[in-house]
């Protein structure tokens, strides 16, 4: 944590707000994908993003660790995102350091064609960690945290591509948490997994909640209700409703939310 403190000095925000999104507007070229989003991600909570396809969930997610910077022609036109109180779109912020604090797991599992061990150690190696003892320890810890250790502990040096889809996705999670981020963004992490693998991922999210702040994009209402503490419903680039998951699923304020949750559209 000491490293994080250097990058993100202590701040005036509420202590339990990890990411604060204020009036955020975002454009792909000239088409607006996000319209005036206001949202707070609370520390050690799981926030689910739901909404019909194309409503901007992934876009918002990718704004939080500035992965959208990689897409030419995109820009935040208005508003701000603060992580631990620091405006991440400020000129002084180094996006490399930001991404060390805000990790991301992708929809399509994308392990490197290297050994399982090297996949998990990758982030630390990039940071210059060479100590074998430290690496071994982190790899084991991360694999245990992502509920993969028992399945792979005897084949750490084998290629990660030999793992099943569900194992690969958990490996990607292990790889992401190996570098101890503050926030873990997950874009439909279970969309390609069967129910058992999905249950494993959900369980590990639940267990890791105490150490991380999670955002999970999902099209699966049951998953959102099972795994998340708070839920944000998006529609056409706007945040329609945002509150505790329990409340949203049992007693949504707006008709549109209710229709979507009950499967009447989207």
């Amino acid at each position: 944590m000491s490293e994080h403190q250097e990058i993100f000095p202590s701040h005036e925000n509420l202590p339990d707000v990890m990411v604060g999104i204020r009036d955020l507007c975002f454009n792909y070229g000239s088409s607006q994908a996000l319209k005036h989003i206001n949202l707070e991600l609370k520390q050690n909570k799981v926030t689910a993003f739901i909404g019909p396809s194309g409503c901007g969930k992934s876009t918002l997610l990718r704004c939080i660790n500035r992965m959208n910077d990689e897409i030419p022609g995109t820009r935040v036109t208005q508003g701000s995102i603060r992580v631990e109180g620091v405006d991440i779109y400020d000129r002084s912020v180094d996006v490399v350091k930001l991404r060390r604090d805000v990790g991301m797991v992708f929809q399509k599992s994308n392990p490197f064609p290297r050994s399982i061990y090297e996949n998990v150690a990758f982030g630390l190696r990039m940071r210059g960690e060479k100590n074998k003892v430290v690496l071994d320890q982190v790899v084991e810890e991360s694999l245990k945290d992502s509920a993969l250790w028992d399945e792979v502990k005897d084949r750490l040096q084998e290629s990660a591509l030999g793992l099943s889809g569900g194992q690969q996705q958990r490996l990607c999670i292990a790889r992401t948490i190996a570098v101890k981020p503050l926030v873990v963004l997950m874009d439909e992490p279970c969309s390609a997994l069967d129910p058992i693998a999905t249950a494993k991922v959900e369980e590990l999210i639940y267990n890791l909640k105490k150490d991380y702040t999670f955002v999970v994009v999902t099209h699966n209402m049951q998953q959102a209700s099972r795994v998340s503490d708070e839920t944000a419903f998006f529609f056409m680039g706007e945040l329609i409703e945002f509150s505790e998951t329990r409340r949203i699923f049992s007693n949504p304020k707006l008709k549109k939310t209710e229709d979507y949750i009950s499967g009447r559209f989207g």
Binding site: N65, G103, M104, N110, F112, F122, G123, M126, R127, V179
Partner: protein, 375 residues
Amino acid sequence: MFNPESIIRKGRPKGYLRETLVRSFLRGITYLIVIIALMIFGKILIDGAPAIFTSKFPFVDIEFLTAKNETLHVFDDAQGTRHQLPASKYSDYVNAHAGATLYNEQTFSYSGGGIAGPIVGTALLTIGSMILALFFGVSAAIYLAEYAKQSPFIHAVRLAILNLAGIPSIVFGLFGFSVFVLAVPIITNTPSDRSMLTIPLMVGNYVLSFQGWNSSLIAGCATLACMILPVIITASEESLRAVPQGFRDASLAMGGTRWQTIRKCVLPYSLPGILTSSLLAIARVAGETAPIMFTAAVAAKDDLPWQGLSNPFGVLSSQVQALPYHIYTLAARIPNSEYTERAQYGSVFVFLVLVASLSFGSMILRAKLRKKLKW
């Protein structure tokens, strides 16, 4: 009576004749091309193999591959026996048989000895130019594929590079001559008279003199590198783009810098592709005559490039022989006769085997890597 068979299955479909004609025509042309190719290979094989292969162990004429190139002397001795000796052995013979009269004496330039010089020269030119081309080409490809934003300017750059590939090699030869041989700057304390511009360096009496590298190995390598740069850049860019975006995203999302991402997650997986396409470029480099004609190659050279040099870097500024140029010399500059055929067909044969094995090697390598690199 109604017979469905006669309606449905019997008879030829409409246009059958035309179909057959078109197919036979296309097939005929294909076979013609194959026959021409076979005839070329066959001719070289039949005429060239005797120069290379021998009936005795090790079945290959080692001397032809390892001996220096010399003038061939053909003569009859007093007994009427015909001798064919390269220049060095000829002088031994004359010394040994002092006073003997030689009859029907003829000499054939470049036809005696072996072709070690051209082989070594071609090897050096190929290695040197590949190093240069890979360094510059891969760097440019990384920039184009990973850093450059898609803009009209970058499109124009890419188009220019593609067009470069269509320029005839003789133009590269002339370009190399006027730039690398005559104009590039070097640091020296004795600038040549033809230097186009000298800039004093304030260190001793050293100057930066724009006088070129003369006709030399390095000038030839640079010219050849220019010629294959477009191929290397295009192939490398393709290989880089073939690496799944997911690898880059994953690395960037873990807090990798752009260069770390390229070095660890992109380059390793595109390198096989880059190298296999480069092997094809090697075949081209090894085979071109025009670019080296004015920039590096000499028809005759007594020493191998590294012999008689005071420092090892001197090899870069020495001229070399090269196989394609040697073949040109043998074909165009000396009269044809039965005594020159060994050198002529032998050289072509060696050359063909070399280029063919390079192309073949790249094909095998590519197929192997394709299988290995699946994600």
